[in-house]
Amino acid sequence: MKDNVRNFQGWLLFAPAAILLLAFTHYPTITTFLNSLYTNKSIIRPRRFSGIEGYESMLSDPIFWKVFANNMWLALGTIPTSIGLAIIMALIVNKAIPGRGLLRMAYFTPTMLPMIAVANIWLFFYAPEIGLIDQATSIFGFESTNWLGSPSTVLPSIMVMTVWKEAGFFMVFYLAGLQTISPELEEAAKLEGSSRWNYFWRVQYPLLLPTTLFVLINAFLNSFKLVDHLFVLTKGGPDNASNLILYYIYETAFAFLDVSYASALTIFLLVLLALTALAQFLFIEKRVHYR
């Protein structure tokens, strides 16, 4: 009898977290998966089981491949650059220089701004003729460019903005990583005649590998998650040149009202991100030195 009471109390304590998780994570995931296996319901046609048809049409959908490739290019174009910048910025603000606090804040400001606000700022930068970039380049006699309006420049433009937004965020992790390294290590290396560069490559960089791994995974996940700016800047255009998976899912579900196909796309994204997280736990973590 007493055991039952204790069990009940246990379940009661477990309930708040369990209910929230079930209601807002597990249940939607399962219904999304089920939706992806059925056709859409409409007035004239009832919902019917279609199996993997949704996934098959995904594979033959050129727009899907286009947005997936865009996403991969975005990841490739932004992650190494923002990590590199983040390390450099962290190294700079880790030193005892005048105005260090101000500089740290300046580097971190883009991260604090909401993505929509960032997009609005950059919309002004990129605007043809009147935008900051065009005004600057016109001084040197360059032609006006429609940065966000032409398929060849739109994705790189988005990349630059993403790097600007993300590098400061990653800097914080590198700064934290750098500060766990004992200053005596630098003194010891200095005494042995190690140059700044040598010290960075042989000591700081290897000791920052755990940070780099963490940042890498986060940056990859972020490159799929951040789409807010597309609403302001391009709406995925022109001709899907700047469209990304998450934005495509949004369009499919809420503009084209194709819930079934949107569900299939969502499951694809979910599996992709889950595999990334798994890769972190299973493979890469073992190869990285932890103190």
Partner: protein, 345 residues
């Protein structure tokens, strides 16, 4: 021949003077200890010697070469850090040969020197281990090996034993001293532990608030402390200091009275606990405490409200609150003047 010559060395950060006008000489192949309480500037002096800290004024010569403004790596010194400063991602071998790689020493010679250094500190079997898999003593050895392998004749050590437990500390003390003698190293060693200083040093430089209080061989400082600070910093329990105005001088032996009389303006009397003896005549005292350590017994005694210590090698049959008399030989008595300096007759 002197290996290191420090002249009028000072260091200040703005208003704060960490080191004030310090001069000393470290003879070649000797073991010099910079001793003092925390904040006395001893580590700052060591850092200035190594070149990791800039000098405000004064000069440093190493092997007759002025290195005052020279880069750390060009001074010809190696250093052992308090926290060992081992690179956590490199194994023992890589840690030892870090400097050799930086200096681009050829691989064959590198192998040979690493093997020798590892052998000298007994690390030959642990070369593949990471620092995180080593005990405190072993890490200490890696730091020593890294210093040895650099082949610099001057080695600076910054409280290298302070992170070890007391048993290991005693072992490493012997080992470092032995290593220094065997390899003929010139060592400058910073510590706040007077036991380390007494047992290892050829020369002790005692510091307080950025200034040298006394320098000399351990027995010289122990037997002839030039000030109350010096007398009390070295020795455990420290030297007893009694205010002459507050003791009954008439109870002392004639020789002692005479010696005190000669030094008219002395106001304090210093006597080491082991130089006090219980006796029939002499200063009347009451036993206030007894600490039995096995090899010795330390008695806390008091005379006219002044507490001090007496150390006996055996455990005499004496109890708390016993009223006894103590005496001492005149030559064991130190007298200090008003400015806390030693009275020299």
């Amino acid at each position: 021949m002197s290996s290191i010559e420090v002249k009028n060395l000072s260091k200040s950060w703005g208003e704060i003077e960490a080191v004030k006008d310090v001069s000393f000489v470290v003879p070649e192949k000797s073991f010099t200890v910079l001793l003092g309480p925390s904040g006395c500037g001893k580590s700052t002096i060591l850092k200035m010697l190594s070149g990791l800290e800039t000098v405000t004024s004064g000069s440093i010569k190493i092997k007759n070469r002025d290195v005052t403004n020279l880069e750390a790596s060009k001074r010809g010194v190696s250093m052992v850090f308090q926290s060992y400063a081992l690179f956590p991602h490199l194994n023992v071998k890589e840690n030892i040969q870090f400097g050799l790689k930086v200096r681009k020493v050829p691989a064959a010679e590198r192998e040979k020197r690493v093997a020798e250094a590892a052998n000298a500190v007994g690390l030959s079997d642990l070369l593949d281990r990471k620092p995180s898999n080593l005990s405190g003593g072993q890490r200490q050895r890696v730091a020593l090996a890294r210093s040895i392998v650099s082949d610099q004749s001057v080695c600076l050590m910054d409280e290298p034993l302070s992170n070890l437990d007391s048993k290991l500390r005693a072992e490493m003390r012997d080992e470092i001293r032995d290593l220094q003698q065997r390899l003929g190293l010139t060592v400058v060693y910073v510590t706040h532990d007077q036991v380390e200083a007494m047992s290892m040093a050829d020369q002790i430089i005692l510091l307080n608030s950025g200034q040298i209080v006394q320098k000399g061989a351990p027995e010289e400082i122990y037997n002839y402390p030039n000030s109350i600070f010096s007398a009390q910093f070295i020795g455990l329990p420290p030297m007893n200091i009694l205010n002459l105005k507050k003791i009954d001088i008439t109870a002392l032996s004639n020789e002692n009275q005479k010696k005190i009389e000669i030094s008219k303006n002395s106001i304090n009397l210093g006597i080491r606990p082991e130089h006090l003896n219980f006796s029939k005549k002499g200063l009347p005292v009451t036993v206030k405490g007894i600490d039995y350590f096995g090899g010795e017994t330390v008695f806390k005694i008091s005379h006219l409200e002044q507490n001090f210590f007496l150390r006996e090698p055996r455990q005499p049959k004496i109890h708390l609150d016993d009223k006894l008399n103590i005496s001492w030989d005149p030559e064991d008595m130190h007298l200090f003047k008003k400015n806390n300096q030693r009275f020299i007759s």
